[in-house]
Structure formats: structure tokens, C-alpha cells
């Protein structure tokens, strides 16, 4: 590998050929700032339009300043990142961005977490020189059940465009109009809800400013908690506990399950339950469905639709309904854990507690933005009353905790309430890519073979690669499994299935990178794959240490079937826990 030697700010740096100045500088501990540069190494995507011009540096002898993110190092190159010329240029560029930006930092949802604000702070900008009534590039606000667009705050970094088009291959966003009024919007400047947007929220996860933000349901929850007539129940998704700590200064990968539960109780929720319980329930239903299809297939039934596709990810369901309407009978009919939880909570649980359906409020804490959309889909309501009332994100929960004056770090660990707080390790690993199918495999193995599963960990199903395949040995019968995360990889798999290229029995799809841990509702990853990997490791570690690791061994699940549901795929199960799909989802 050829190496290059260059000098950056009088420091000698040695890098492989092909390295850019920005990368070489970071290696040498020189933090050249940037705004539009975004690197997603685990997704093999480097977004470097070279358009913000914040990272410009001086190379003596060259006519103009050059963008460090795009310019490759050459042997013997001299780079000055903070010469007067470079500093003046960088500052002027940031001032220009600020001159075309709303000045409402104090009340902006991204305040404190905004890359433009950080630049202004580090550069010490104190005034913006523009004429009185200087033009501002404004755009109509766009709202949806899951995310909000405020394009007045867009800096045209185009990260959302890259994520939506190249990684998710959804194609809901691209630049429209020209010059000063150029903006990123859906085609023909449609409303977001009319576009193919799946609400995966990855655009929110990479937006450096407050242009793209999540819908905030915090105050709905506060009002519900304050209402003496309401019985408020909360469920928390597996991925939340692996990332919530980051909002309180914990390093990524710290699991804060105990403190999270304590905080929720302290906030006044009447019952603190766990979505993981419903994840176990999902495995019961979906695992049985999987086995049913596989057994019929192996018996020679040609009408069986295989592979079975997981259906717990609402952004994935949206994507599927829009792009593969000819295959609506292929996914599992099982609802997502969030929705199964709500359905059981407002029937089985409400009855047990003596609470009327209309007096129960179910709140879910999710790493996800699409869940906000999912819970208001009509098929998940009974006479207009939704199974899940409000979905809030990990970040919103952090706000609630701070609004509740709770000192998170000093909380003593507490446990979830029962019965719907009891879960197995299989339910927990739903939060990572490969986790759902591994959980299903743990149960399906025992149900199919009738034998006890000794090796509970299926490492061949784990990892960060975008598409993974494995063949799991069910005592002589090989079950072929495919796994994809990010919708671009999902599309690859689905296109292949449509062409009849694969012989998978089951496929797990997650819309977000790394699975739910990388969701749009988590502390923003902005492309940092190290954070995603750390969250993933923490989930698997917690699973490893759980006493029960298979969904069908969860005693509360067993009891639920005995007392209420009967058996998986029973009529009651079908009514409460299963659904069907629509071509072109109504939003």
C-alpha cells in the first residue's frame, strides 16, 4: 500500500494513497470542521458533496482554497488549515449560512445538538453582516405523524438526500428549485405524507440542524399522566435501554434498563411494562406461522408463500406496501411488538386491572419515528380508540426525565411490573439487526425438532454487514435465513425474491442501520457507526445474562395463552395480534 507524506499545520503526517486531507488531519489530531461531510463506513457510504465550503484549507501555490473533505493528499503537500486566509474564508462562509438561518436557537428543537450552532460557537461569531431585511430562503413547513420539516433551517448539506436515495432507496427527497431558493423536498414539492416517505427517520438522524426533527408528543404524555381519570401504562422498546444513557452523559453501549424503569415509575406511570414481553409474544405468533408455512412447504404444498418476512418494522411495512404491492401475502401477518402490546394491554390487562378501555392510555417509548405513524393506523384502533395512544422517542423520554427534575445518574435500579414486564433474552435482541430472526430461531428450533436447544447464541445471524445469510441446522433440516438492514439492502433481497433467485425460508428486514438501535428516535447517530456497534454489543451482553433466553419459556407468556389467547394463531390471536397489508399505504 503506497503511503503519502504531507505536512498539515507544520505537522508531518503519513497516510495511505487516496486519503483526503480531512481524513489525514483527523488522524493527526487536527479537527478541521465540516458541515456537509458525512461518513457511514459500515454502510460503505461517504457523502462528500463538497458544498458547504466550511472545511476549506489553504495549499500555498494553489489559486483557490480547497475543500479538505474532497481533496486527496499528494506526496510533499503542504496544508495550512488555520492561516488567516483560511480562517477568514471559513468564518465568512459560516456567517453567510447564519445570515440565511432563522435566529430562534433558544426555542429550536435542535438547540444544543446543532452542528451549525456548534460552528458558530467554536468560531466565536458575534455579528452577521447583512443588509436590513436581507432575503431569507424560506419554505412552507411540512408535517407528518412522525417527523417535521422546517426547511428554513436547511443548510443544503444534502445528507438527508443521500440517506433517503442511496441508503434507503426510498427516494422521497431531492433538491428542487435553483440558487438561493433551492431546497430539499419530495418530488413535485408534494407534502411528505403524499410522497413515498416511509417515516424511517434516518433523514432526521443525519440532519445537522433543526430542519428535520421528530414530532414531539411529550406534552400529550404529561397531560395524560396528570389526568386523574386515566390509567397510564408505558412500554419500552429493547433498543431504548441501550442508548438512553447517552442523553445523560453515559458512554455509548451502557445499558441503563434499571434506571430507566425507576425513572418511568418516578414520573408517575401507573404500570411500567416492557415491549420485550410483546416481542416474546410476537415470536410465539410469528414462529408458529413460520413453522406452519415451512412444514406445509416441506410436505409438498406448492401454494405456500415462502420466504416469510418479518413485519415488526413499520417503515419496512410502508416500503413494502409502496414498492411490492404484488407480494402482500408474503410477510408474516403478525403485528409488531408495540401494537401487540397495546392490543393485549387494552383487553387482557385492562380487564385484570378493572380499568375501562377508554380510560387506559398506552404510551410506548421507541427508538423509532415510524412507530408514531404506526400507532395511528386505522386497523390498530377499536371503534376509534387506538391500541397504542402515543409513541415517544428515546430523546423525548430523556426530556421527560429532565422535565421531571429527576437526577438520572443517582437512580437506584428497579424492575418492570408484571405480568407485561416479564421478558426473555430473545425479546430483548429484537432491537438489533438479526435479533428478531435469532429469537424466532430459538423457539422454532425447539418446536420443530422437539429437542432442547443447547447452543442458544446464533452468531452466524449477527453482525453489521448489510445483507447476511445463514443456514441453520434444525436437526437435519436446513432452514435458510436472510437478513437485511437499511431499506436499500431490503430492496436488493426483495428484488431477488421477485425474480425467484433465492431459496430463503425466512427473512428479517430492519429499515435502520444496525436495526432499531440506529433508529431515527435514538440519540442522533449522524453516521457514527462506532456508537451503533457499542449499542449492539450492549444488547447481546444483556441477553447473555438473562435467566430466560427463549420466548416460549417466558412464564407470563405461557400464562397469557392459558388464560386468554388459547394458542398461537387461534381466532382470538388472529383478531388481536394479526393484521393485513394494503397496497400504497394511506397516510
Amino acid at each position: 500500500m503506497e503511503t503519502i507524506k504531507l505536512t498539515i499545520d507544520n505537522r508531518q503526517v503519513e497516510v495511505p494513497k487516496g486519503t483526503t486531507i480531512l481524513q489525514a488531519a483527523h488522524q493527526a489530531g487536527i479537527n478541521i470542521p465540516s458541515l456537509c461531510y458525512m461518513n457511514l463506513p459500515h454502510l460503505a457510504q461517504e457523502h462528500k458533496p463538497g458544498s458547504c465550503r466550511v472545511c476549506v484549507v489553504e495549499i500555498p501555490g494553489r489559486k483557490n482554497l480547497v475543500p479538505a473533505c474532497c481533496t486527496e493528499c499528494t506526496d510533499g503537500m503542504t496544508v495550512l488549515s488555520h492561516s488567516l486566509r483560511a480562517i477568514n474564508a471559513r468564518r465568512t462562509v459560516v456567517e453567510l449560512l447564519l445570515s440565511d438561518h432563522p435566529k430562534d436557537c433558544l426555542i429550536c428543537p435542535s438547540s444544543g445538538n446543532c452542528e451549525l450552532q456548534k460552528l458558530s460557537i467554536t468560531m466565536g461569531i458575534r455579528e452577521i453582516n447583512s443588509v436590513e431585511n436581507a432575503a431569507m430562503s424560506t419554505y412552507r413547513k411540512d408535517a407528518s405523524p412522525a417527523l417535521n420539516r422546517n426547511m428554513d433551517k436547511c443548510v443544503m448539506c444534502r445528507s438527508c438526500e443521500t440517506v433517503c436515495n442511496e441508503i434507503q432507496t426510498v427516494g422521497a427527497l431531492s433538491a428542487v428549485n435553483r440558487g438561493f431558493m433551492a431546497v430539499v423536498a419530495p418530488a413535485f414539492e408534494q407534502e411528505l405524507t403524499d410522497s413515498p416517505c416511509t417515516f424511517c427517520g434516518q433523514c432526521v438522524a443525519v440532519c445537522p440542524t433543526g430542519a428535520l426533527t421528530a414530532v414531539d408528543n411529550t406534552f400529550h404524555v404529561i397531560r395524560a399522566l396528570a389526568d386523574p381519570n386515566k390509567y397510564v401504562v408505558v412500554q419500552t422498546a429493547p433498543a431504548v435501554r441501550a442508548a438512553l444513557g447517552e442523553e445523560f452523559g453515559y458512554p455509548p453501549g451502557t445499558s441503563v434498563t434499571g434506571k430507566m424503569t425507576a425513572a418511568l415509575r418516578s414520573l408517575g406511570f401507573d404500570k411500567v411494562f416492557d415491549t420485550d414481553f410483546a416481542a416474546d409474544l410476537t415470536i410465539m405468533e410469528e414462529g408458529t406461522e413460520l413453522l406452519d408455512r415451512i412444514t406445509r412447504f416441506l410436505d409438498g404444498d406448492k401454494s405456500v408463500r415462502l420466504p416469510i418476512l418479518t413485519s415488526c418494522c413499520p417503515a419496512w411495512v410502508n416500503f413494502f406496501e409502496t414498492n411490492y404491492p404484488d407480494m402482500l401475502d408474503v410477510p408474516s401477518t403478525a403485528r409488531s411488538p408495540q401494537q401487540m402490546f397495546g392490543a393485549i394491554a387494552k383487553t387482557y390487562m385492562a380487564e385484570k386491572l378493572g380499568v375501562k378501555r377508554e380510560d387506559m392510555v398506552v404510551v410506548s417509548v421507541m427508538p423509532c419515528l415510524a412507530k408514531k405513524y404506526e400507532c395511528q393506523r386505522d386497523e390498530f384502533k377499536v371503534d376509534g380508540n387506538p391500541d397504542v395512544d402515543y409513541a415517544i422517542t428515546t430523546r423525548e423520554l430523556a426530556h421527560l426525565i429532565k422535565i421531571g427534575n429527576i437526577d438520572f445518574k443517582t437512580l437506584k435500579d428497579e424492575d418492570f411490573d408484571r405480568p407485561m414486564g416479564e421478558s426473555s433474552g430473545a425479546g430483548l435482541i429484537f432491537g438489533v439487526t438479526g435479533g428478531v430472526i435469532e429469537a424466532a430461531t430459538r423457539t422454532a428450533y425447539e418446536l420443530f425438532t422437539g429437542k432442547k436447544l443447547e447452543k442458544v447464541d446464533f452468531h452466524e445471524l449477527r453482525g453489521m454487514e448489510g445483507i447476511r445469510t445463514a443456514s441453520v441446522n434444525f436437526d437435519g433440516t436446513y432452514i435458510h435465513i436472510g437478513i437485511a438492514h437499511t431499506l436499500g439492502n431490503a430492496r436488493k433481497l426483495l428484488d431477488g425474491i421477485r425474480k425467484g433467485m433465492y431459496n430463503f425460508h425466512a427473512i428479517e428486514i430492519m429499515a435502520c442501520p444496525g436495526g432499531c438501535i440506529g433508529g431515527g428516535g435514538q440519540p442522533l447517530h449522524r453516521g457514527n457507526s462506532i456508537v451503533l456497534k457499542a449499542r449492539m454489543d450492549s444488547i447481546y451482553k444483556e441477553d447473555f445474562n438473562k435467566p430466560i433466553r427463549k420466548s416460549h419459556e417466558n412464564p407470563e407468556i405461557i400464562k397469557l395463552y392459558e388464560d386468554f389467547l388459547g394458542k398461537p394463531l387461534s381466532e382470538k390471536s388472529h383478531k388481536l395480534l394479526h393484521t393485513h397489508y394494503f397496497s400504497h399505504p394511506k397516510k
Binding site: P49, G50, S51, T92, L96, L97, S130, G179, M181
Partner: protein
């Protein structure tokens, strides 16, 4: 005898097609169809005095011809041999009619190489192109030269790109030829976007085959079998003429498989622009052809390595291509003997503004601005005083009287603070406000910026706002400092040539006409009287009758005076609306 009628867009707009019709009618009526032929040609370049009709072989040059004049031309000149004097070009100095176009001041110092066939042949007839050595260069190249030898000849000629950047053409061809690929492309940039520029348009309308031949030669040299002409949709006549030429070339086997029986195959198609100046930038052009948003991207890699559909692509301007066949016909030494040391050959300029001979000219590099403006251009219109000459369009700068003896070439214009650009040359006189000129170019840039990079998208808008503030009389000296800083940063940090050169009009006017800016800012005066908001309205006491009409109509009560006594305008209150000037029946209001 031949009656050549200009069929360029300019003369077309003045009914030259009708002239052709009427001439044919008259020839038929007088039974002269065997003796004389009417030919529609390309642009003669003398657009100020169009429509042009030229009679061959005596070189009679008729100007400002109307369709009604056709009968007289035929019955007097063609039938009786008597030239129609009233239609002859009149020399502005000695007022004499010039009977032979070769004696016209406009043409004497011109050297038409790229425009060699414009105004001479019928562009819709490939036989006329062939009759003037058309496609001989291609034949010679295919028969006698290897690609390397041909490239070498282009290099020796010293030809540099005519689109504005001036990159050595032979070198670009050589670099592209060295990248191996299953498919390569030759692209002709016909997106000519500079406001007022029509050099490329005239070449395409007047001699489209020269481009086809040149692109085929280029294809042979670099190893490309496909050519693409990216032409702006606003040039329908050029598009039509190119389509006809391509069709005719295909029929003759000059495009397609095994041209001239060689192993070389080449064909081409047109792609249309959609109204974006930025798509004249090669990477934005390529993105546009690929169906993407027309935005430039970082270079390297250059299109020679990674171009259209990520294949090696050679992009050249129309005028650059127009020069190519001549290099082979007359030899690179001949070509290199014209021009200066570092800028060989000729350049086509669109001469416009406050000048007597507005039109299209082609001159050898090294000619001075003074020669162009005063000898070819015929001097400043209406006897006014020369103030500045703007070269290079929105990317260029304004040069002053002190620069008039600058020889025109790529490097000297750059050194003088402007640039050659694609060939726009606009002459300004004492009635032009240089601040307004800078503002005009910035308005264009703000409209055309693609919006990708911060300095161009927002910076140019902010510069424009400062200039608007100044021309409205609200500027302050600090604004000039901000303007200058913005200009330098935009130039230093923009992603592409559009942004990098957009501050040039501002910077060159700040440099050469600083006192005009100061007058606008400090004195709130525009001495060229162009900025309406800075106009000073005063009442001439010798003429004013005291009728009080102005005072009664002034919306801000700035005018005082007794009946039948001269009135007075209070400058501190006046808002320069101009109502008093409109109402005064005695012309007593002076505007300056």
C-alpha cells in the same frame, strides 16, 4: 451571380426569410433564374446593419434590406448591373458608399477562420460545405495519420479552448486518449449561456458541418465512437440546422460505420439544455445529460477520466471544434503563425454596447482593444466618450481607457483584471453607471446559481443586496468593505467556475471605478444618471413660471414657492419619484 441572404437568427427576426422569398419571386418574374441564385447563408457578423444581402462575385454588401427592396435589387442590380446605392453600407467617417465589402472598416482587420463558411455557404446543403474542402480534413486524418500523430498536430497548433478556460485542446485530447475504456465520448458544449453571446449560435446556424467533422476527428483521436452535442433549447434554428447536417452527413457515409472505408465508426446525437447557465460547466453539463440535476461536482477526477456515464469524455466548446478542420487543412504551423506566443489563432467576439458596429467579429489574437473598438467597431455611438469595455460576460471584468492598448489574448486579459471568457465584449460610454453594470451581472448570477455551495448560493445574493442598497442611495462606506470581503471569499471558495468568477465584475469595477462607488455611497449621486433613486431633481428658475402644478402633485410636499414665482425643491425631503418632472409643462425640471 449569387445573392447571399443572411439566415442567422438576428436577420431572420428582421424578416430575412421574406427577403429570400421576394428575391426568388422577382428573379422568376424577370426570368433570371438561370443567371442568379438566392442562397440563405449563416451570419455575416455585421448585425448592426442587418438584414444583409451580399452579391457575389462583385462583393456588393447591401445593409438594412427590407423585403420590399428585393424587386429593386433584382431589376436594377441583377438585370441592369446598377448597384442600389441607398442600400450600400455608408462609411461613417467620409460618408461614402462602399461598394466592395473587402473595403469596409468592419472587415479589414478581421480574419475569419471559425466563421470561414458563415455568410458564404448554405448551411442546409452539405455539398457546399464539401465544395469548400469540407470533410477533407477528416479524410486526410483517417487515411494518413495515426491518432497520436493527429493529436500531435493539434498540440503543435497551440489551439486553446474557446469556451473560456483556455485549456490546451491537444493536451486534453491526449489525456482522454490515454484512458482505456469500452466506450468513450466526444461532447460539444453548445450551451452558450453568457447574456448577449452568440458566437457559438452563429457557427452552428451558419456552418454546422464544421462541428460534425471536428467531432469525428476528435473521436478518432481519443478512441470514441459516439458524439453528443449538448445544445441549449433556446437555439431552435441551430438545432434544426444541426439535425439537417447530421442527417445529410449520415446519408453520405460521413457519419456511421466505417467512415471513408476505414475501421473508424462515429455517430452523434443532440441533447437539449433546459434553461440553466450553470449547465455550461462541464460536470454540470454531464450530470444534465445523465438525467440528473444540473449541478457541478468536485474535480478531480476530470471528465477525461470519469465523464459521461463515468466513461472518459472529451468536452470542447463549439468554437474550439470549428477551428479543428483548418489545422489539418492548412497545417499546424500555419495556425500557430497567427496570434501571440501563448494564444494562437483567432477569437470570435460578440461586439455589443455603445458602439457603432454591433455584431460578430473574428480577429487574430494579439489585436488590441483599441483596434477592435475604434477600427472594427467604428467607435463610440453618437459621439459619446468611451468609458469601459467588459469582456468575458458575467465571469469577466471591466477594463478602462488605460487598457485600450492591451493585446487580446488569454493571459494579458487576465493580467489586466478581466478574462477572455467565451467572447462577449460590451462597450460602455459615459452614460453607463459601472455600479449598475456590476449589479446587472450579479442579478444574472443570482438567477443562474445552482445553489449547491454556500458562497455562491448565499454570498452572491448578499453581494447583490449590498449593490441594491447602494444604488438606492442607502449605502455606507462599510458596505464597500463587506462587498470586497465577500467578493474575495466567494472567488476563493466556490465549488465551480460560475461562483469562482461571479465576483469579477464587482472586483474589477471596485478597482477601476472606485470613485463611482464612493459617489453613490457618500454623495448619494450617480453621475451617469442611471440610478433612478439617486437622481437629483432641481427647478430651473429661469424657466419656471410658478404655475404650482409640481408643488401640488409632490407626494411629500418637497416643493415650495409663491404663485408666479420660481419654485424650489428641498433635496432633503425629495424621494426622487419623478412626478414633478412628468407634470411640468415648461420643461423647467432638471434631472441629473
Amino acid at each position: 451571380m449569387q445573392l447571399l441572404v443572411c439566415g442567422g437568427t438576428g436577420c431572420r427576426a428582421s424578416a430575412s426569410a421574406s427577403i429570400v422569398e421576394k428575391l426568388n419571386e422577382s428573379l422568376k418574374a424577370h426570368q433570371l433564374t438561370e443567371e442568379a441564385q438566392v442562397v440563405t447563408t449563416g451570419c455575416f457578423g455585421f448585425c448592426e446593419k442587418g438584414p444583409i444581402v451580399k452579391v457575389i462575385p462583385d462583393n456588393t454588401f447591401y445593409t438594412q434590406v427590407k423585403p420590399e427592396d428585393a424587386e429593386e435589387i433584382v431589376s436594377e442590380h441583377i438585370l441592369k448591373g446598377r448597384k442600389v446605392s441607398r442600400l450600400l453600407y455608408e462609411d461613417p467617417e467620409n460618408k461614402e458608399h462602399i461598394t466592395d465589402s473587402r473595403h469596409m472598416g468592419f472587415y479589414q482587420k478581421q480574419m475569419r477562420i471559425a466563421l470561414r463558411n458563415c455568410g458564404v455557404i448554405d448551411p442546409e446543403n452539405i455539398d457546399e460545405y464539401i465544395a469548400r474542402d469540407g470533410y477533407s480534413a477528416l479524410a486526410q486524418v483517417l487515411a494518413d495519420l495515426t491518432p497520436e500523430q493527429a493529436i500531435d498536430m493539434v498540440k503543435q497548433s497551440g489551439l486553446r479552448g474557446r469556451g473560456g478556460a483556455g485549456f490546451p485542446t491537444g493536451l486534453k485530447w491526449e489525456i482522454t486518449s490515454k484512458f482505456s475504456s469500452d466506450q468513450k465520448y466526444v461532447v460539444c458544449n453548445a450551451d452558450e449561456g453568457d447574456p448577449g453571446a452568440f458566437m457559438d449560435r452563429s457557427i452552428l446556424e451558419g456552418d454546422p458541418n464544421s462541428i460534425i467533422e471536428a467531432m469525428a476527428i476528435c473521436g478518432y483521436c481519443i478512441g470514441a465512437t459516439k458524439g453528443l452535442v449538448y445544445i441549449r433549447a433556446e437555439y431552435p434554428l441551430a438545432i434544426k440546422r444541426l439535425e439537417i447536417a447530421i442527417q445529410q452527413a449520415r446519408e453520405y457515409g460521413l457519419l456511421g460505420d466505417n467512415i471513408f472505408g476505414s475501421k473508424f465508426s462515429f455517430d452523434m446525437e443532440l441533447r437539449y439544455g433546459a434553461g440553466a447557465f450553470v449547465c455550461g460547466e462541464e460536470t454540470a453539463l454531464i450530470a444534465s445529460m445523465e438525467g440528473k440535476r444540473g449541478e457541478p461536482r468536485f474535480k478531480p477526477p476530470f471528465p477525461a477520466e470519469d465523464g459521461y456515464m463515468h466513461k472518459p469524455t472529451n468536452v470542447n466548446n463549439v468554437e474550439t471544434f470549428a477551428n479543428v478542420p483548418v489545422i489539418f487543412l492548412k497545417g499546424p504551423e500555419w495556425y500557430a503563425s497567427i496570434g501571440t506566443e501563448k494564444s494562437k489563432g483567432t477569437k470570435v467576439f460578440a461586439l455589443a454596447g455603445k458602439i457603432n458596429n454591433v455584431g460578430l467579429i473574428e480577429v487574430p489574437m494579439g489585436i488590441t482593444l483599441r483596434e477592435i473598438i475604434y477600427e472594427i467597431g467604428g467607435g463610440i455611438k453618437n459621439g459619446k466618450k468611451f468609458k469601459a469595455v467588459q469582456t468575458g460576460g458575467p465571469s469577466g471584468g471591466c477594463l478602462t481607457e488605460a487598457h485600450l492598448d492591451t493585446p487580446i489574448d488569454f493571459d494579458s486579459l487576465l493580467a489586466a483584471g478581466s478574462m477572455m471568457g467565451s467572447g462577449g465584449m460590451i462597450v460602455m460610454d459615459e452614460d453607463d453607471c459601472m455600479v449598475s453594470i456590476a449589479k446587472f451581472y450579479l442579478e444574472f448570477i443570482v438567477e443562474e446559481s445552482c445553489g449547491k455551495c454556500t458562497p455562491c448560493r448565499i454570498g452572491n445574493k448578499r453581494m447583490l443586496e449590498i449593490l441594491e442598497k447602494i444604488t438606492q442611495g442607502k449605502g455606507c462606506m462599510e458596505d464597500l468593505d463587506h462587498l470586497r470581503n465577500l467578493a474575495y471569499v466567494i472567488k476563493d471558495t466556490s465549488l465551480c467556475g460560475l461562483g469562482q468568477s461571479s465576483p469579477n465584475p464587482v472586483l474589477s469595477t471596485l478597482e477601476n471605478f472606485y470613485d463611482e462607488y464612493v459617489a453613490h455611497v457618500k454623495d448619494k449621486r450617480c453621475f451617469a444618471k442611471q440610478c433612478k433613486a439617486l437622481a437629483r431633481y432641481t427647478i430651473n428658475p429661469d424657466v419656471c413660471t410658478g404655475c404650482t402644478i409640481c408643488a401640488r402633485n409632490c407626494p411629500v410636499d418637497a416643493i415650495t414657492g409663491e404663485k408666479r414665482e420660481p419654485h424650489f425643491i428641498n433635496q432633503a425631503i425629495c424621494i426622487h419619484c419623478g412626478v414633478c418632472y412628468q407634470k411640468c409643462k415648461f420643461n423647467a425640471i432638471i434631472v441629473e
